[in-house]
């Protein structure tokens, strides 16, 4: 990866650089070629102009010279003599003076008198008449013409004495010497060419020797007129030449001309060294960029690969090693950020791990943590043949604390509870908060008495009053225990059974309960009952029974106690003893109480309509007393049915009042303010103090039936009943005795001045219609006999 990246980076840099170099070079190459071409063209064109003007100047010079000669008196005189030898000699003499290559003299009619070459030898001039016609017309005639197969620049002027007496022609040959001179001046290759109708012919050239083919093709090129325009490229020998056809001025129909050529090599030679230098620079800078690219890629990739290594390490969860990139640049910053990041990740991972395994409120291990530990412990126990115990503890009626005092207090209670439990445990034991007010303890390796002591210590720690600010809370807790391997082989099983044991402890008002085998099924039954109970009210499965209460003073029945019955579709009639605790446990009790109150008050109204002014007692649960809304709900129903509140007696158990004495007292007072009567139910079973009882706004006591049932046989119970009645009367309370099943007991109670008797002797609880009938009859028949009940019932 490192190598690849580095290589790629280097290659990329190099490629980019090479690309730039190449395009620069290419641009340069193209530009110089174009420049060379255009320069060659310019050169050729300017050369052509120089050539033309040189030729013109030569022509003018020739003309001047010839005119000078014709105005020479001696020359004219010699010509006028008509003496041929004289004329020959004077022509040679004058031609020699100006180095003319040809001298021709003719009379006015065009007869050649004499024609000589540069050496004074006679020369045949065949086209003289034609030339002369132009000269006669223009008076003087500067031309380029072929004479005797050789090209000449020729001037023809008249000889005047002072009128025309003859024509003199003088010319310079277009020879190799001239071509070389012109080449020296124009820097162009000069080739004189004569074009004829049957093709061009080669005359003189400064070009290096050409082979026959090249010569022929150059001539054929020249013989077409296309070269007279823009220069064309033509190859001669090893070199290319830009070639231009330059017709010579004065030449008849442009038949004589010069091929002007400029070698491409010459045009490019200026750029050759520049090109070599550019290539050298490109190579050097390519090497430099290769070195730079390598250095740069190493400089960049080495820290990057270190970072990559660090990332892999972090990925594996190793946060201890810092990335070692000690630099001041962006990569250094990146490495610093990496180090900070991995420290942050480590910290947050710890937090998350802690949160995953701990309860945020109490900082105790959470459910997941416990389960993990429990699984581990079971494995260990299984391997070593040890035992372990799972203890589950919750705070009774913790929901009420949250509801009445707020969650802040509830949280503080939980924190304090957690702290205490933790303190009461050995180091090796594990305490976890399982959720809500449930705590779970895992105790390993202790059995029997040792384990019991540990459990006892927990219970004691849990039940100490908790002080929160100025408040002191007395909490009841229930503890259930399940032991491995007796009560379960898996964590799930142990926890569930500890939970059942805890429930049983709660039900049986014990602080601690070890799981009893077989409680599982019971527990499941109860759970299903709870579910069914929710639907019982809307489904009309609940029904009120009414048990008459006999006024021992008047021997009349003027009150009944309403008792709720549940007619379960499958399980049949379920007694309140069974489902009311479930209702309390599951919170359905409020709904239940509400329904009962509504039914009772509605019934009171119904009876009033039948002239039965019967008072009705109903039972409140301990949890009802923690509901501050109860008085308002009660008032609402009373008003709705216009029932006299004093007909209603609300019965509260002694323990219910004692549990949360302060708040319960407040609710009771508000209920009394509603105008209803209040009674203490099951009196004698709890631990209420008399002083406490005295403060309660109650009107009557109901002696628990456990005393009454046996009072006829057990004198102790009779004493208790009697003294209780006296005590109550002394406190201004009415007394109701429950469980009266025989006349002897009734007589005894009468003897003790008990106010009201209730029991099967008088009547069993009756459904509404029966009760109504029973009551209607009882109004007319005072209680007399022991068969009264049967009489009334059967009637």
């Amino acid at each position: 990866m490192e190598l690849r990246f580095r290589t790629r980076m280097t290659v990329l840099l190099l490629a980019l650089f090479a690309l730039v170099q190449m395009s620069t070079f290419l641009a340069f190459y193209v530009a110089t070629r174009q420049s060379a071409v255009s320069q060659a063209q310019t050169r050729l064109e300017s050369g052509a102009r120089v050539f033309t003007s040189l030729m013109d100047a030569r022509g003018a010079q020739l003309l001047d010279a010839v005119q000078l000669i014709t105005s020479d008196f001696g020359f004219r005189q010699a010509v006028a003599t008509g003496d041929t030898p004289t004329i020959h000699s004077v022509l040679y003499n004058q031609g020699h003076r100006i180095q003319a290559d040809i001298v021709v003299l003719s009379d006015l009619q065009g007869h050649v008198v004499a024609s000589l070459d540069a050496r004074g030898q006679p020369l045949h001039v065949d086209s003289w008449t034609t030339l002369l016609q132009r000269a006669e017309h223009d008076r003087q005639w500067s031309t380029v013409s072929m004479i005797d197969g050789r090209p000449y620049q020729l001037v023809i002027v008249p000889v005047k004495a002072p009128t025309d007496i003859a024509w003199l022609g003088m010319g310079f040959a277009l020879d190799e010497k001239l071509a070389r001179n012109l080449k020296d001046l124009t820097r162009l290759e000069v080739t004189f060419v004569a074009r004829k109708s049957q093709g061009a012919s080669w005359l003189q050239s400064t070009l290096p020797a050409m082979n026959a083919n090249e010569g022929a093709s150059l001539l054929s090129l020249v013989s077409t007129t296309s070269v007279s325009g823009a220069p064309v490229l033509f190859r001669v020998g090893p070199a290319d030449y830009f070639t231009l056809w330059q017709p010579l001025k004065g030449s008849d129909t442009g038949q004589l001309g010069a091929v002007l050529q400029f070698s491409r090599e010459g045009a490019l030679s200026a750029y050759k060294s520049l090109e070599r230098e550019l290539v050298l620079i490109a190579v050097l800078s390519l090497i430099a960029s290769l070195a730079g690219g390598l250095w740069l890629s190493r400089h960049v990739t080495r820290p990057v690969s270190r970072l990559a290594v660090a990332v892999r390490r972090i990925e594996q969860g190793n946060y201890d090693t810092d990335v070692g990139v000690d630099r001041e640049d962006e990569l250094g910053d990146l490495a610093d950020s990496f180090n900070r990041m991995q420290r942050g990740i480590a910290q947050r991972e710890q937090q998350i791990a802690h949160q995953a395994h701990h309860d945020s409120l109490t900082s105790l291990p959470n459910r997941a943590s416990l389960q993990e530990r429990l699984d581990q412990a079971i494995e260990n126990a299984k391997a070593n043949g040890h035992t372990l115990a799972v203890l589950m503890l919750d705070i009774d009626r913790f929901k009420e604390i949250n509801d009445t005092m707020g969650h802040a207090i509830g949280d503080r209670v939980l924190i304090e509870m957690g702290r205490r439990l933790r303190e009461s445990l050995d180091i090796g034991d594990m305490l976890a908060r399982f959720g809500g007010d449930e705590f779970v303890v895992l105790i390993e390796g202790r059995v029997g008495a040792e384990l019991d002591r540990a459990a006892e210590a927990l219970c004691q720690a849990a039940t100490l009053p908790i002080r929160i600010d100025a408040m002191e809370l007395f909490l009841d807790t229930s503890l259930g225990m399940a032991i491995y391997p007796q009560h379960g082989a898996t964590a799930e099983e142990l926890l569930r059974r500890a939970d059942i044991a805890m429930y049983d402890a709660k039900q049986s008002h014990l602080r601690m309960q070890i799981y009893q085998p077989g409680r599982d099924a019971m527990h499941l039954y109860r759970l299903s009952l709870v579910n069914d109970l929710r639907r019982a009210i809307p489904n009309g499965e609940l029904e009120l029974y009414y048990q008459p209460k006999l006024n021992l003073l008047t021997r009349r029945v003027d009150h009944v106690e309403a008792l709720v019955r549940w007619n379960h579709p499958q399980h049949g009639l379920i007694p309140p003893m069974e489902f009311v605790p479930l209702a309390e446990y599951s919170g359905i009790i409020r709904m239940l109480t509400d329904w009962v109150m509504h039914e009772v008050i509605r019934q009171c109204a119904a009876w009033s309509d039948q002239d039965l002014e019967i008072g009705v007692a109903l039972n409140l649960s301990a949890m009802d007393l923690s509901c501050g809304e109860l008085p308002e709900v009660l008032n609402g129903y009373l008003a709705k049915y216009a029932v006299d509140p004093s007909r209603l007696i609300l019965e509260v158990t002694e323990t219910a009042v004692m549990r949360d004495a302060v708040y319960a007292l407040e609710v009771l007072n508000r209920l009394r303010d509603c105008g209803v009567q209040l009674a203490i139910d099951d009196f004698g079973t709890g631990y209420s103090s008399l002083s406490h009882l005295k403060r309660l706004p109650v009107n009557e006591l109901k002696i628990d039936k456990s005393f009454v049932l046996s009072m006829a046989e057990d004198s102790d119970d009779a004493v208790i009943v009697r003294s209780t009645i006296e005590l109550a009367h002394n406190m201004g309370l009415k007394v109701v005795a429950e469980g009266v099943e025989d006349t002897r007991t009734l007589d005894m109670l009468h003897g003790y001045h008990c106010d009201v008797a209730q029991g099967f002797l008088i009547s069993r609880p009756l459904p509404e219609k029966e009760a109504t009938r029973w009551l209607q009859r009882s109004q007319n028949v005072p209680f007399e006999a022991c068969d009264w009940d049967e009489e009334l019932s059967e009637a």
Binding site: S71, K160, A161, T163
Partner: protein, 229 residues
């Protein structure tokens, strides 16, 4: 050359009276134009008598002056045998020459004080030049007849006292085609009556004008006449 058919010959048919002709002399008047109506000056009209004995050269003289860097006159017709004097009226020297076949001569540089004379005894056209002034040209037209005249600026010329007889009429001009005189009328019969002729000459463009270049100061040509002598 095409110019051979120059001119339209107008043949005036008149009565020929030999007697009268022998006894009387007549005058001929001509007008010469260039065919386009422009008068031709300096044309030389000459009449040669047909059948008559050639006239002997007559001792006569004429003057060809050089004045204002020009030959004056431009054209000088003389009968053969005439001696022409070449005075110099300019204050510069002239070197007059002729390469013409009928009379070649050369007068070395001279001023007016030493006027030379040249005898022109052969008929022909003698073209005069000045070796140091190329533009100068003059013509001495040497004729073998006493009957000649030169047209004036209006193109007219006349010859009086022509004896009756038959004549060949020639016309010459410096710019005439072929440079030789033309016969414009082959049979001119002169009786007592005056004759009138119109001739047309086709001329070349002037190549030599006998005019000094325009830039030369005119006063240059005048010779200062010495005071008192």
């Amino acid at each position: 050359m095409a110019a051979r058919s120059v001119g339209r010959r107008l043949l005036i048919v008149g009565c020929i009276f030999f007697l009268a002709a022998a006894a009387q002399a007549a005058e001929i008047r001509v007008r010469v134009d260039d065919g386009a109506g422009a008068p031709v000056a300096d044309a030389v009209l000459s009449l040669n008598r047909v059948g008559g004995t050639p006239t002997t050269p007559r001792k006569a003289s004429a003057t060809m002056d050089q004045h204002d860097l020009r030959f004056a006159p431009f054209v000088l017709p003389v009968q053969a045998g005439t001696t022409v004097t070449f005075p110099n009226s300019d204050n510069v020297r002239h070197q007059v020459y002729s390469f013409s076949a009928s009379k070649r001569f050369q007068l070395s540089l001279y001023t007016g004080n030493h006027a030379s004379t040249v005898l022109f005894d052969q008929p022909g056209i003698v073209t005069l030049g000045c070796n140091i002034h190329d533009w100068m040209v003059g013509y001495v037209v040497v004729l073998d007849t006493p009957y000649f005249a030169k047209t004036a600026a209006d193109g007219s010329a006349s010859i009086a006292n022509l004896p009756a007889g038959e004549y060949v009429v020639h016309l010459w001009h410096p710019r005439i085609e072929d440079a030789t005189s033309q016969v414009v009328e082959q049979h001119l019969v002169v009786a007592g009556a005056p004759l009138q002729r119109d001739f047309h000459l086709h001329l070349r463009a002037p190549d030599q004008s006998n005019m000094p270049p325009a830039g030369l100061e005119m006063g240059l040509g005048h010779r200062m006449r010495p005071h008192g002598t």
